[in-house]
């Protein structure tokens, strides 16, 4: 495929074509999260980003992760964030800038960071294609098995962390 400026681009396969659409959607939504002036719209864009990331997981044949992403991020975290926005009524109707006083430095830093990562991702010779994965129920079962055998410490620590979150957050947010 020949682009106008004489750049040669290989014709994407159908799978790659669909991936490009999903990735573009995710990237645009991700950008909208940080540049939207209305905080509630940011939260909506964040929800869309989470959906896009779930789609990316599907391309990676990690369907359990894709569903967990929707369950926890869209169903719980995005909803908590929307709640917090409403509770703190932090609408910034363009009266003041949504950015703090170090936005110049941080935008430059983020941009340079992005260029660096991009160069790294493009320059490194990654292996061409991964091995074959049979994504069936056995894979999900194997994942569950990993939690209670190999990664049992991390798993229990996460349980402890959730317990602490339950205790600590209730102490913090309760009406006194």
């Amino acid at each position: 495929m020949q682009l106008p400026l004489g750049i040669e681009v290989p014709i994407p396969t159908f799978e790659q074509f669909v991936f490009i659409q999903v990735a573009l959607l995710t990237a645009v939504a991700g950008l909208a999260v940080v540049i939207s002036r209305n905080l509630f719209h940011s939260a909506l864009a964040l929800t869309l980003t989470f959906f896009g990331v779930a789609g990316v997981y599907v391309f990676l044949e990690a369907e359990f992760l894709a569903v967990s992403q929707v369950l926890v991020y869209v169903g719980a975290i995005a909803m908590l964030i929307a709640f917090a926005i409403m509770l703190t009524r932090s609408m910034m109707y363009g009266r003041t800038s949504p950015l703090n006083n170090q936005w110049g430095k941080s935008s430059l830093f983020a941009f340079l960071f992005f260029i660096g990562l991009l160069a790294f991702a493009r320059a490194t010779p990654w292996p061409a294609a991964g091995e074959e994965v049979v994504a069936d129920e056995a894979l999900i079962g194997a994942l569950g098995r990993e939690f209670v055998t190999t990664y049992v410490i991390a798993f229990e620590v996460l349980g402890l962390l959730l317990l602490l979150a339950l205790v600590g957050a209730v102490m913090l947010a309760r009406d006194r």
Partner: protein, 413 residues
């Protein structure tokens, strides 16, 4: 067999006609999902008719009987009326949230149709994670309610939105845990597999009566009660109270946008009934589904009978029971259902590891489930007796002079 198989045959045929592979697949899938979505949206016309007929019979009325035979076309006429209504956007509404919310609420419900097994070989997709998919996609409705409440710039809508979220979140946990008991028993999240395991073979003939609801009636009851709350039906419709108050979070909506919320609500009740049937009542299983030609057809008939049966049961409860208060709603979810379900899961996990034959395990699981049922029944019965007392007391005749009732504590009623 599932969609990916008949769709393969169909797309193979299309490719034979000279279409490129990706176009054939896209076309076939688009047609399949178009049929599924339209089935969902049109069946709501029937569902609303069933609801209105059932509730009017309970209330000793006739119900819709003018448009069409038995008033069957009443809902279609209502839909046409809604189509001709003005589309109002309130002042200073958050345009994006306000307009996106009805679409999102329908989207979240319609997507659930994709994994429901209607008959042997008639499933949208038989996902490996279907059980979790149902739960995950179900939570989109919560976001939609929040968006509607926030977007319409009305404090009552926002308050109702908050209440919807509080209720749906509270009852989502018992719902998830009830699904988990099924997954724990069957060792599978695939709906095809779960339905397959509920067959009961007798001498090579599939009786199709090995329903999981027989082994775990407690989980079934908890699932059913939570699904009533998730569908915002009457014991739990304090968010909306459509027979007394104006609507809840969708108060500012009119015309087609309102119709979308309405559609989502009815379809959600139906789909939760379908999930309950799939998980606990054998899905399309029934006597004779193993037969070669007539089997799948019988399966579809069994499935529909069961789902509409559960749906009518939901509406029956809706027409019979009094509405509960928000504090009772919270109490029932967090202090009754969640501890019970956690206890049931731990008990079931232990029972399934006991060194006994499977039949004994099933009996033990059944006993644990009966315990859960007993507690739920006790709590409900206590609540309704108190409610009866309260109602009786408030209707007691009092004359104007000298009959102010003084209780023992000296407080006046």
């Amino acid at each position: 067999m599932q969609v990916t198989q008949w769709s393969e045959a169909l797309s193979g045929w299309l490719m034979g006609l000279g279409l490129p592979g990706w176009a054939a697949i896209t076309l076939v899938y688009a047609v399949g999902s178009f049929i599924l979505i339209n089935y969902g949206m049109l069946s709501v016309l029937l569902l609303i008719w069933i609801t209105r007929k059932a509730i009017s019979r309970i209330q000793d009325r006739i119900g819709p009987n003018r448009v069409g035979k038995y008033g069957l076309l009443q809902t279609a006429a209502d839909a046409a009326k809604l189509l001709s209504k003005e589309d109002i956007t309130p002042y200073e509404a958050d345009k994006i949230a306000y307009n996106l919310s009805p679409v999102l609420s329908v989207f979240g419900v319609l997507m659930l149709l994709a994994v429901i097994p209607f008959a042997p070989g008639l499933t949208g997709v038989d996902l490996n994670v279907a059980a979790l998919y149902i739960v995950a996609l179900g939570s989109i409705g919560i976001m939609a309610a929040l968006m509607a409440g926030w977007g319409s710039n009305n404090k009552y809508a926002l308050l109702a939105g908050f209440r919807v979220v509080a209720q749906l979140l509270s009852y989502e946990i018992p719902l998830v845990l009830a699904v988990l008991t099924v997954v724990l028993l069957t060792g599978s999240m695939r709906f095809g597999q779960i339905v397959e395991m509920q067959s009961l073979h007798l001498g090579g003939f599939n009786l199709g009566l090995g329903w999981l609801g027989v082994v775990m009636p407690g989980a079934l009851i908890v699932f059913f009660v939570s699904s009533l709350a998730e569908a915002e039906l009457t014991p739990f419709d304090l968010l909306e109270a459509e027979s007394e108050l104006i609507a809840g979070f969708h108060i500012e909506y009119s015309g087609m946008k309102f119709a979308m919320f309405f559609l989502a609500q009815f379809l959600n009740a139906w789909i939760l009934a379908a999930v309950a049937v799939t998980l606990f009542l054998g899905g399309w299983q029934g006597p004779g589904v193993g037969l070669p030609v007539i089997g799948p057809l019988l399966g579809l008939v069994y499935f529909m009978i069961k789902v509409y049966g559960v749906y009518v049961l939901q509406q029956w409860i809706r027409g019979t029971f009094p509405r509960i208060r928000i504090d009772q709603m919270m109490y029932f979810a967090w202090k009754v259902l969640v501890p019970l379900m956690i206890g049931l899961i731990v008990a079931q996990a232990i029972i399934q590891k006991l060194p006994t034959p499977v039949a004994v395990q099933y009996v033990l699981i059944f006993i644990a489930n009966v315990g859960v049922m007993a507690v739920v029944a006790y709590v409900l019965q206590k609540y309704f007796r108190e409610e009866q007392m309260r109602t009786k007391r408030s209707f007691e005749p009092t004359s104007l002079i000298g009959s102010m009732q003084v209780s023992e504590k000296g407080t006046m009623y």
